[in-house]
């Protein structure tokens, strides 16, 4: 999306919202509030007053803590709208969004920054600060929240080691490859250890191998207990990962697969990477741990390959 277009669109949306007057009461009562959910959408609609934008129609679902959820759909199906609603960059036209028990609609403008500190975000275009080093980019997320310098000096190298950027601390974003920039972006999103991490097409600008690296990273973060929501249009990758998939089409939730056979925390990162590449996982350890029936599940059966 053209960056220059955004303020305009936002202004227009705001004006439209004002023109429409009070929003008619959404059928929010149909779905009870779920105290366990980290994200809960209740009949959320977003209508843009110009035809081109992707809206959202009556989206209702909830995501529980620790889940790894894919949000899939064509371009213009409403994925980004949903992401921006979750960041409170946009206001829903109807319905309510509850994150960690708090209704975003009741969040005042002043409180939005404090809310966003609890949500890590990763974007397709990385959104790094161009005139800061890798270290400073990650540190900024902590400076914003008022962490002490000592604290920052302890935490930043840690998270950069996790993302494999220890040797790049003092480089500027334009000196890094796309994959490295995205890893910085993930590091920044994760340095606060937020309970929720949103990634909007995190691999959209990256080649397949680099993409797998980023997904592995997100997976590792998920295993540390963070709820991860990834919007993507790369359905091949999604199919291989066997995670919960919410599919949007033209603003409607058309599929919400509760992950079929997958159980959380059943692979280590290396195995996960192998899964992503469509290769059989390095087997020996699993052979010992699991019975032969559990070993090869849907993803492997369907692709017709025989495991070694």
């Amino acid at each position: 999306m053209a960056a220059t277009e955004q303020p305009l669109r936002r202004a227009r949306t705001r004006r439209a919202a004002e023109a429409a007057g009070p929003v008619p009461a959404a059928p929010r009562s149909t779905v009870p509030a779920d105290p366990n959910a980290v994200i809960q959408l209740r009949g959320v609609s977003k209508i843009y007053d110009h035809a081109t934008g992707a809206g959202l129609k009556q989206a209702t679902f909830s995501i529980t803590p620790g889940e790894f959820v894919f949000l899939v759909g064509q371009s213009g199906s409403g994925k980004s709208t949903l992401m921006r609603l979750l960041l409170k960059e946009l206001e829903p036209s109807a319905g309510s969004i509850i994150v960690a028990g708090r209704d975003l609609g009741e969040l005042t403008r002043k409180k939005v920054p404090y809310y966003r500190r609890n949500v890590g975000v990763v974007f397709q275009d990385f959104k790094l600060l161009p005139n800061r080093t890798v270290y400073d980019n990650v540190a900024y997320a902590l400076q914003v929240t008022g962490h002490s310098r000592k604290d920052i000096r302890a935490k930043v190298p840690d998270v950069l080691r996790l993302t494999g950027l220890s040797t790049r601390l003092h480089n500027y974003p334009d000196q890094l490859s796309g994959g490295e920039q995205q890893r910085v972006s993930v590091a920044r999103a994760f340095v606060n250890h937020p309970p929720l991490l949103l990634a909007d097409e995190p691999t959209g600008n990256l080649d397949p191998e680099t993409s797998i690296g980023i997904m592995q990273l997100l997976y590792r973060i998920n295993r540390a207990g963070t709820t991860v929501v990834v919007a993507t249009h790369d359905s091949a990758m999604v199919d291989r990962m066997r995670r919960r998939v919410i599919e949007l089409n033209d603003g409607l939730v058309v599929r919400d697969e509760q992950a079929g056979a997958y159980t959380a925390r059943d692979e280590n990162t290396a195995e996960f990477g192998a899964l992503m590449r469509g290769e059989p996982a390095p087997a020996p350890k699993r052979m010992a741990d699991l019975g032969p029936d559990e070993l090869f599940d849907d993803a492997f059966r369907d692709d017709g390959r025989t495991p070694r």
Partner: protein, 297 residues
Amino acid sequence: MKPGFFLKEATRTIRRNAIPSFAAMASVLVTVLVLGVFIPVVQATTGAADDVASRVQIDAYLKRDVTKAQIAALGEKLKGMDNVKKVQLVTKEQAYAEQKKKNPEAYQLLGTNPLPDLYRITPDSAGDAIAIGNALMPVGPSGKRAAIDPSIDTVRNRKDDTEKITSVTEVVKLTAAALALLLIAASILLISNTIRLSLFARRREVEVMKLVGATDSFIRWPFLIEGVILGLIGGVTAIVLLGIGKVALFDPLTDKFALIAAPETMSFGPLVIILLAAAILVSTAGSGLSLRRFLRV
């Protein structure tokens, strides 16, 4: 808050965005330089106009046969009149010497002194000249003008000259004021545009800061401090240049030509303070206001 952190952020952005920062600083510099030259020029112009106006005088020519005692008595009488600032006696001899200096050949031919004694009257202000003239030669009952004192022959209040001078000085003052306003408007536009451009380039940066959870004030402070620093650098540089110009160019001139120094102008100290305050204020307000637009994410 954390002033140290914000100060560091501000200086870092200045260093990292050297070219836009330089542009903003340069526009402040140019503006202050122009204002610093123009404020004294306006003052000098209006001062000169006032000076010209103050030279409006009334000449009361005396009869040729008056005695010294009569002259002295008339002098006291004139001094006692309303709106009179100064009364000066110009004797025949003084007048002759004055005129001879202006036109030596003509007076050489003349031989004898044809000039009368006269009183030169300076009014409180240029506008009073005509009133004083009328008071000296009121219209009598016969409809003819007669002098209030028998020793006065005629009164010349140079009515035309006075009116011309007052209208010209008005025009000069108005023109100077209009030019000053135009210059100030141009300066404000220049600075706000420069700042807006450099902020526009950093709009994305502000957006990212907001997404990471920075509060508005957290984003704004470094920008404001940056504005103060750039305003300060630009202002100080301009004032140093002005100072050099004053010492190198203007001061020698005033020594040579007393005329230039004649009108009252603001002394350098207060001028510097005003310019510096204006530079910092405009630069800071410019960055603060322009930022508002981008903070609405």
